[in-house]
Amino acid sequence: MKYALYLGCTVQTEQYGYEASVRVTMPRLGVELVDMAGASCCGFPPFSSVNELAWLYSSARNMAIAEGMGLPLFALCNGCHLSFAETKHMLEQNPEMKAKVNGKLAKEGLRYEGNVRLVHIFELLHDITGKDKITTALSNPLKGLRFAAQPGCHAIRPSRVGRPDDAENPKKLDDLITWLGAESADYPEKIDCCGSSLAVAAGKATLDIAGEKLKAVKRRGFDGLVTTCPFCFKVYDNKQRAIQVTVGDRELEVPVFYYTQLLGLAMGLKQEELGIDLNQSPVDAVLAKIGGA
């Protein structure tokens, strides 16, 4: 199984723990990742709020590169994946716009046909790789830990353009957590937003919104929060101290992991290979419990 790996701006410029853990775990599951030469921003944001053609062009440009490679497009980021799915949907409905976009792409010798296959990490791990392959790749199952799944808004909504999990009752990330030997449990705040898109206009509101989720995860007795979305991680992990200050609770500590980091630990990989030293939330107690390498 070979896939074009699309990192997106946030992952490739700062969320190195996600990228590193994906690059080291996927090949162990038989997934071959091929980098996309000449990839650029998907356009979501900023162009989606600024100029529709610039947005559609930006997403179609990367989909055209993947089509040229003859590989399914595996976008790591929820936002990029949704941007591609929405653009694909819109250009299917609107041949005139598709022709306009292709007119712009021609300047770089690119062409978007619309036959690209989009793959989300939930599909790649849950539906394509599957439980048997994942469980047999593990040497250090995560016993005695209970994690809250954070699928992220753009992985599950809007259902009308086709998303990799259910809009109101997503379960794939929970399944993936349990396949590692850990526990997961449904909780009412699971499909709530991290608020990160608000950071441009109202930074304090982002921290308030994110704080609600961290409080819920802690109150419900989870050992940590697990996501595959770089924006969710950036808020819940990287900004956890700022959240504590904003909500006025210094004790609001929640360990946060990328799913692929936990997958790697369960495979017996070293923390540094998985970029876990970059997690800013208090993960050490959970790591001690996991043990291994």
Binding site: Y16, G43, F47, S58, C153, A202, D277
Partner: protein, 160 residues
């Protein structure tokens, strides 16, 4: 400021189909935390032809794009998409908006990405970059001049 004519509000017919059922504000995480932000009221104002007031206010910039309103709207109006359209028209009309958008647009047009690869810190305050993480160089358009020129051309056209 150059005088520009507001493009036709294609979303207005959608807004008129709104039943004012209230599913959108009851789903909205921003309505709880930011006073004055209410997707149902935004749709009502658009239906009444008062989108100019909305575009002049900062309220359209505080949507966090969680898409619950788009998912749950029984009339498939999608307050989210109406807000995105209002933002695009507001920018076309050169109305005030958060400066972060201009910075991001400039970065993408000139470099292909929103920001350049950052130096990040480990929990023990050690600095890491892509190279020290063992990651390959970040991707960008190979013909940057053609890419930049194309985006500049698009942004210069009379479209939103």
């Amino acid at each position: 400021m150059t005088q520009k004519k507001s493009p036709k509000a294609v979303f207005q017919a959608n807004a008129e189909a709104c039943d004012q059922c209230g599913k959108c504000p009851s789903s909205c995480p921003v309505t709880i935390h930011v006073e004055g932000f209410n997707p149902r009221q935004i749709i009502a104002k658009v239906a009444l032809g008062r989108e100019a007031d909305l575009m002049k206010s900062q309220v359209i910039w505080t949507c966090t794009s969680c898409l619950k309103c788009k998912e749950r709207c029984p009339e498939e109006i999608s307050p989210y998409d109406v807000i995105q359209a209002l933002r695009r028209i507001a920018i076309y009309l050169e109305l005030p908006h958060p400066e972060g958008y201009d910075a991001s647009v400039k970065a993408v047009v000139e470099t292909g990405v929103v920001q350049q690869p950052q130096l990040v810190r480990t929990r023990s305050k050690e600095r890491k970059d892509r190279k020290s993480m063992g990651l390959p160089p970040a991707e960008k358009p190979r013909d940057m001049a053609a890419y930049t020129e194309t985006l500049r051309e698009i942004l210069g056209e009379e479209t939103v």
